[in-house]
Symmetry: C2
Subunit: 214 residues, 2 copies
């Protein structure tokens, strides 16, 4: 099986915004209410961060249950790992996820400010100051034949799209307008020269956008 | 994790028919053209019987790629296993699937005419003359903590629905009318007293019906 490079369960507003401005420790998604973007995923039975029984088993759950299938590594931007910019004052920050991060694979964090690798349970974070191509090479080797997830945020996904390194992408478009923030696209149709695009409205209110290479 | 009892990728016509009358060796689906019911699944990249590269990676593929996830055993009716009725003249018939059946788990075949178990590659068929409850008990034990798929045909799914043993069910309704044959339902709404139901139209033309227990 070919190793694929996949984006899954990435969420944007109707105007294409995936996170607000002014990310901080209190506001991981900046000045945008992440509940408006993520509610559909949190309602499903299979959502990785679900802590209580219950949840839906319909269309949206097919999407969330697929997020970890055959994934052997993730690549993320520094701003998904934490709210800090510039050199690390120390290494106390260990990500948003506590002692049991939901990745369970090697995770490669792209940053101009590298630091030693960090292992929390069965997830190890590696910090790389390199190009998307080179990061992907390392992630593919670490994934041991499985696929690589490009985990976001917006800037990282844009870099990998611009370098034409993504094979398959799922983006849920939520029924809200945010106006300001980090923008994934002006319109998903920008990508249809390179990708097939299926738009599937969900009963939950989001519209799932499935892209795969032409 | 609770063991669940699931129906996946079962296909019916708009009038609820899953197979035609007069099943035979030449016509596994009886006097109905199975291509009309199955085309959506065969077009996907992840379809279990796909033999050539290619295929779609959109909504329909999310459904087909989920078919084998966490499945530890299947229960099927005798008519899914073969076109013969009554006592077995001999044991030459080994199912429709050749030497590499696509199940890769124990399969329990419900029949009034039992025969010795049959192993083909990593699939073993066991033949049981028993109730849905008892068959499920055996399949759950064999599934070793994983889920049990109720694989069809129509009669078997109806028996398990009537015994209230199914937790989750996906049925694709194809845009054809068949008129005669084995009928799963007059209308999917018959089940909404016991199940949530989401209807999701696919770009391929089928309407996916997702049921899960209330």
């Amino acid at each position: 099986m070919t190793q694929r490079v996949r984006v899954h369960c990435f969420n944007v507003s109707q105007d294409g915004i995936g996170a607000g401005e002014e990310q901080s420790l209190q506001h991981p998604f900046g000045l945008a209410d992440p509940r408006e973007l993520w509610a559909w995923a949190g309602a499903t039975a299979s959502w990785v961060n679900r802590t209580e029984p219950g949840g839906t088993w319909g269309l949206d759950d097919y999407i969330t249950r697929d997020m970890t299938r055959k994934i052997g590594a993730e690549i993320m931007g520094r701003n998904k790992f934490g709210p800090f910019r510039g050199p690390w004052p120390n290494y106390e920050w260990q990500g948003w996820w506590g002692g049991e991060p939901p990745f369970h694979t090697p995770v490669f964090v792209l940053t101009h400010h590298v630091r030693p690798s960090l292992t929390l349970s069965d997830t190890t974070f590696h910090f790389l100051d390199t190009t998307p191509h080179e990061a992907l090479k390392q992630a593919k080797a670490a994934a041991d034949g499985r696929d690589v997830r490009i985990g976001g945020g917006v800037t990282t996904i844009r870099e990998f799209l611009d370098a034409d390194l993504i094979d398959e992408m799922h983006v849920a478009v939520a029924p809200v307008e945010l106006g300001d923030g980090l923008r994934l696209w002006e319109s998903p149709d920008e990508l249809t020269d390179r990708y097939h695009l299926e738009r599937v409205p969900s009963p939950s209110g989001v519209v799932h956008h499935f892209f795969w290479r032409r």
